[in-house]
């Protein structure tokens, strides 16, 4: 029991500490691919600390909600991220929320972020929020279809059980899993505001979605929102790793050695995920906003197809 609590606590702190590193790693790889030197790996940590020590400059007509939202978002994303198995399955609180609930928690975070975009009453905030909900209105059903497909195969929506099933030899190669994986990667790109859906590094306001919503935030509020964004990226990489590359995951009740292997494997998976993302982002250009529905519509169709295949035959 105490050991389980310690593992759960370690997971919560691990995801919190690793997430800026992942963001820094992706930035570094992208810079190196462009033959730039790039910021040091720990730059995101420095940014966070600096932002947290700055005072908050709050717009005159910002409401109490605007000040509460960064904490709400951080809480939602952090709780979600602590429930995704990273290096060990069967976390102490993994039964608190299954995969559907984790997705919905991220939905709550997004709901509040979109409200924050509207709070000050500027046109940039509005454009960000309205585009964000448009993207979410397709990404969320696509995500749920992926959850359906994987849950039908694993016979569970509980992430620990799903990961346990995915590592067992029963899985085999399935068309539906392939479709779900492609769809999940597309959704992850959209959900994390990465290229080609949104550009995390843009300075042209009209092309941004996420950055436009948080334009009015500063100081510790901005730090929390940036940290939540990093956490969300980490969460999606962990989710893909846990469902589609569950190798090395320590099972429940495993000893310290297995846990160490699990942590090393997890770090390797994060590095691989970050590397893939950076290569993909370097290779592709941002698409127009109204091409995004087609991109996500494809993800939704792939997810639906995967689910349909499983309804037709459990072995597909």
């Amino acid at each position: 029991m105490i050991f389980d609590t310690a593992v759960q606590g370690a997971q919560m702190i691990l995801v919190l500490l690793l997430s800026p590193l992942l963001t820094g790693f992706v930035r570094k790889v992208k810079a190196r691919l462009l033959r730039r030197r790039g910021p040091p790996l720990i730059q995101p940590y420095r940014d966070l600390v600096r932002l947290m020590h700055k005072e908050v400059v709050l717009a005159e007509n910002a409401s109490w909600l605007f000040r509460a939202i960064p904490y709400l978002i951080f809480a939602g994303v952090w709780v979600a991220a602590s429930l995704v198995p990273t290096f060990r399955t069967g976390l102490l609180f993994s039964w608190t929320a299954d995969l559907i609930a984790i997705i919905a928690l991220l939905g709550s975070a997004r709901f509040f972020l979109a409200l924050a975009g509207l709070d000050v009453g500027t046109s940039f905030g509005g454009i960000g929020s309205s585009r964000e909900v448009m993207i979410a209105s397709l990404a969320e059903p696509a995500m749920l279809m992926i959850v359906f497909a994987v849950a039908l195969i694993a016979g569970s929506t509980q992430l620990s059980t799903m990961a346990g099933f995915m590592i067992s030899p029963e899985v085999g190669l399935r068309v539906s899993l392939g479709l779900a994986l492609i769809s999940l990667m597309m959704v992850a790109i959209a959900e994390n505001a990465r290229l080609p859906v949104d550009n995390p590094a843009t300075h042209l306001e009209l092309t941004m979605v996420h950055e436009a919503m948080v334009l009015e935030y500063s100081g510790r509020h901005l730090a929390l929102i940036d940290l939540s964004a990093s956490l969300k990226l980490l969460l999606y990489v962990s989710l893909i790793a846990c469902l589609f590359a569950p190798w090395g995951l320590a099972p429940q009740g495993a000893g310290l050695q297995a846990l160490a292997i699990g942590v090393v494997a997890y770090l390797a998976k994060l590095a691989a995920g970050g590397l893939l993302l950076a290569v993909f982002e370097t290779a592709i250009a941002k698409m127009r906003v109204f091409r995004v529905p087609e991109f996500l519509g494809a993800a939704l169709m792939l997810g639906l197809l995967a689910t349909l295949l499983l309804f037709v035959s459990r072995s597909l």
Binding site: V49, M52, H53, V56, L58, A59, E60, N61, S63, W64, L65, Y71, L72, F74, A75, G76, V79, S82, F93, T96, A97, D98, I100, A101, A104, G107, S108, F111, A114, L115, L118, V120, G121, G125, G126, S129, S130, V133, M134, A136, S137, L138, E140, P141, L144, M145, F148, T157, Q158, T161, E205, L215, G219, R220, F290, P293, L304, T307, F311, R314
Partner: protein
Amino acid sequence: MALAIILSGVAVLLGVAALAIMIGRSRGAVPIVYGACLTVSLISFAGALFELTYVRAVPLTVTLPLGLPWLGAHFRIDALAAFFLAVVDLGAAAASLFALGYGRHEKAPLRVLPFYPAFLAGMNLVVLADDAFTFLSAWEFMSLTSWALVMAHHREHDNAYAGYVYLVMASFGTLALLLAFGMLAGPEGGYAFDAIRAGHPSAAVAALVLVLVLVGAGSKAGVVPLHVWLPLAHPAAPSHVSALMSGVMTKVAVYGFVRIVFDLLGPPDWWWSMVVLAIGGITAVMGVLYALMQHDLKRLLAYHTVENIGIIFIGLGLSLAFKAHGMAFAAALALTAALLHVFNHSVFKSLLFFGGGAVLTATGERDMEHLGGLIHRMPQTAFVFLVGCVAISALPPLNGFVSEWLTFQAILLSPQLPSWGLKLLVPAVGALLALSAALAAACFVKAFGVTFLGRPRTLAAERGHETDRFSLAAMFSLATLCLVAGILPGLFIDALAPAVKGLVGESMPFQAGVEWLSIVPIAESRSSYNGLLVFLFMIISGMLAASAIHRLASDKLRRAPAWDCGYPDASPATQYTADSFAQPIRRVFGTVVFRAREVGEMPPPGDVRPARLTVELHDLIWETLYAPIAGGIASASERLNRLQFLTIRQYLSLVFAAVILLLLVLAIWP
């Protein structure tokens, strides 16, 4: 005992209605009428709750010598009726409490006060009725009293039209139900529900009854394409009545559907569920898309009711599918999800309509394009409205999420269904459900963001003020219920168990005994959810982050003009409006569903005319289904109108021809 209490409550309500006619003009009428309604509703609610939890072998029944002389009026309260009575009376109590404050602003109290208690009585009677005659009379009474309430402000723009459409649709719906009961009762005329239950209708009769009930109860509930009256009529009524119509009366309609299809009609055929599922899925998505296109706050809420009815019908359809294939346990899961959503929706939709009413009294505006920034003027209303928005968007840790989560769990059980039609339909319906959930969140970001956030768009919004304490008390109690039902869903699921067991023969496992008050529909390794812990974790981690940052880093704060990339514009017209917020979604979905078109008109350089953007939307359901019927009736009556201006000879020959025709028919009839 409980039955007697609730029936005498109905009698008291009717008495209050009569009293309201006499004292309606006096100033003290509002507290007396609404206070009496509140008391009676609370007592009936307690009675219903007692019936729901107290297990009886034989449900309570009573027969009163009213109505048809050879039949009498049968009343009965079983677990299903007790659950719906609890929903009705809880909504009624909240609306009465709200109206204690809100009703004082009523300009024409005599048009509202007498009908309001009568409307409550009607809804109670529908749920209690145990024979077709009583059911239909109560149903019609409920329709007519609510119609009178819709017409309370009949001089306002479009309200008379809304009342007219409502009356036509309500009569049409009752006609369908009348025929359904006629088919069920058979030639012997066994109108008591007991007699109907005992008789087994043939497959053809059952199919016909199903269609008629879908039309009759579905039109009252707001199922697409029979929803057209709902977004007109619900917003037209005073806000506490809107809350009742949207939150509660649609549930009475769902009760009618469940009572007939699950209880009276006997074992279902497998294809029934396909019809119900398809209708549910389409209703959910169409309802929310319509809602997204609105900029009238109350109309948006009314359209959104259509979406939630769709979600409820998806649950009912799944339950029918499982029941038809003998999967009693899965049927219980799906039915629990649907009934829980009935309760949840009645709570948060009432809350949201109260919020809309509070905004209406504070500013005199329903149009979101004229509002904005109300969170500063009405902080408490804004808070509870936000709770309602989060709940209705199915976001954890509030209650809307629980019922949708259960529906998703039921969908995940459906690959075991043997029939191919369902195998293909259920995933599609699942996708529609997921789509509607995501769009609902977008819809309520818009509703809350444009109304309460940003800068005030008009003087009226700038001068808004916090609403009275009765209204706030009503809204806060409903918001608390949203939270309680979200974090302790197990209690509510257990309370539903007897009702579910009575209909599908099985119920979900007992949840109160699960560790940590989680809900576990099937097994913990399969799926579980604990709203309480999610809520606590979020609170703790949010507080932890806040205190850590404030203590270790900085807690300084400075107010300054908005940044807006260096070019803040003083005019509030530069904010996003409700229509511009929905523009991306309109472009993605609306071009197909509403044939939406945007025409930009840009004058040439040098011309001083303003540039214009015209948006064209078509309500295809109205244009393709209702407009031709209305046009056909209009042109037919135009033709028949000539019959009024005939000469006496022509009338005589008409009569003569009619007599000959009748004689011929009699002669030929075998």
